[in-house]
Symmetry: C2
Subunit: 331 residues, 2 copies
């Protein structure tokens, strides 16, 4: 169990949130609302951090005054017993190296609230953290459906906590469950992480179909997308059924259909020739999935098509339609 | 193989379409467009039939003049080698009895383009036809995603042909595949029929969530809905993976998200207290699914909630939210 602190007899936990983007700020807001003491870290040069420091607001929410802000990683990591990390996936390894250099990470539980895979290695985020911080730390992931925009309005959702240690999973679920977020236990960490990351790629594909007026093929996309990733997870040693749970299929409404979805929007804009100012997370993930396809010698036709299109394929429509309208075969 | 007829050296099949609703009219339009000779049957008293006879149009399409219309079931059934049936599911048994009384059904291949289960027995449609016409007939089902509105505009989709006889499946797929509809072979007829029927019930649930402003729970609905029906199909002796293919999950875009979906719309209207003039097909299906839950002693929480609400539960919000926000557990 976590070791709670007390204020006027009321129990609370100290939580560090590393990151200051939309989701990180929500996690600070949410965990504070459960009665915990929260410190948020962001880089001093980050515009998002500066805005939070100046106004305590972002486009979605206002941080309560009890949430402290710091641009000292040392101070923030020393603060919390639970360390929630929500940054861009490709930056996790360098953050891990920084944390390792700072030390003072013993007995902390790290919770990764992010979805991605490392380009070049295809490595999962929990593995990157273990590689950089040492196998002694406790790591869990917190993924699943839910948009900040909805949660802030009080619209509830279910999410998943997964780790390789069911005791860690239980502790986090116990601490963070509420009427707003109901957590399920995830037991296949590999499948959860691959599925959670890859749903952003399926989201880009969905947006591309929307952009080409082939929205009605998103049904076939859901059936084929889940299957292709189920095959990958099985080849990697995970449970082929995990993608059909909350971490992947359960996130399809938010990722393939919602107007809030960055990845869907990116795909739609891309096929319309509109340049996005920021790349969606799925753009990095699809590159890492190509690494995994190579390593595990497996075909990922939908991911491959998204990759080809992003890399400049001249036949966008052909790449997408051929996924679904290939010669007749068994499902 | 089917025995083609010839006109000026060009091969064609004779096809009877029983039914004259939106989908039946589309099937006549589509199979005629492939170069076949088509006769459509409707009851003389049916308003849809009268409108087709008077104007050759419905709200979606115009039937080409080569398609003949008849209100004689005897004439229509005698005409075609392939008999496509697209009527309301609860009427199939009585139509089967009429066909049996007429005779002249030997060597015909029946293709059921309809989604439902019989109230009182939970029986699948292909079984009803075999029970009424005798085990000697050939029966297949044609299901999967696709809205008439989209097909008519030339937007392609993938669908599934399933039967217990792979030779029959192959013949129908060969005859009816085109650039507009690409068919996949379905090998688990039981799973296909249960999944295709039940997706209308999940569609009603999706509409109810939309109506209550809980659209973001449709992700969890997709994950839990597929699982619950996978369990049912497995209990019935089918393949638990079939629901994750085109016949069920692949139809979720059209059924859970599209504005064209009758079942989604029905659910949305229902929770808003707006009375629909026609019941959606899923209203009948959910009653039959309750029969199956009893027969196979299995829990179907989502179907049960939809059933309770339609039957007048006073706590609509509670019925739906409790599906997803129950006490914490493993997925």
């Amino acid at each position: 169990m976590f070791t709670p602190s007390f204020l006027n007899g009321v129990e609370y936990l100290k939580i560090s949130v590393l990151g200051c983007g939309r989701w990180a700020a929500f996690l600070a807001w949410y965990t504070e609302s459960l009665g915990n003491q929260v410190m948020v870290w962001g880089r001093e040069t980050s515009k998002r951090y500066q805005r939070l420091q100046d106004t305590r607001k972002n486009d979605f929410l206002m941080l309560p005054k009890q949430v402290s802000l710091s641009h000292s990683l040392d101070e923030t990591i020393s603060f919390g017993e639970i360390v929630i990390i929500s940054i861009s996936s490709q930056s996790l390894r360098s953050l891990g190296k920084q944390l390792h250099a700072l030390g003072n990470i013993e007995n902390k539980t790290f919770v990764l609230c992010m979805k991605g895979l490392e380009i070049g290695t295809g490595e999962r985020l929990s593995r990157i953290l273990l590689e950089e911080l040492g196998a002694g730390i406790k790591v869990a992931v917190w993924v699943g459906p839910g948009h900040v925009q909805d949660f802030i309005k009080g619209i509830p959702n279910c999410m998943v906590i997964g780790s390789d240690d069911i005791a860690v999973t239980r502790q986090i679920v116990d601490e963070f469950s509420s009427n707003l977020i109901r957590f399920y236990y995830g037991t296949d960490l590999l499948g959860i992480e691959i599925g959670a990351a890859a749903k952003n790629v399926v989201g880009i594909a969905a947006g591309m179909l929307d952009g080409l007026q082939y929205t009605s093929l998103k049904g076939a996309l859901m059936a084929r997308g889940t299957k292709e990733l189920s095959n990958l997870i099985e080849a990697m040693g995970g449970d082929p059924m995990t993608v059909y749970g909350l971490s992947h299929l359960g996130d399809y409404e938010a990722t393939l259909f919602s107007l809030h979805s960055n990845n869907r929007r990116f795909g739609e804009d891309f096929v319309r020739g509109e340049v996005s100012d920021t790349l969606a997370e799925g753009v990095y993930t699809v590159e890492a999935l190509m690494d995994l396809a190579r390593i595990y010698k497996i075909e990922l036709p939908i991911c491959q098509a998204v990759y080809n299109i992003i890399k400049g394929s001249q036949d966008i429509k052909g790449e997408l339609l051929s996924l679904f309208l290939r010669p007749v075969k068994a499902e």
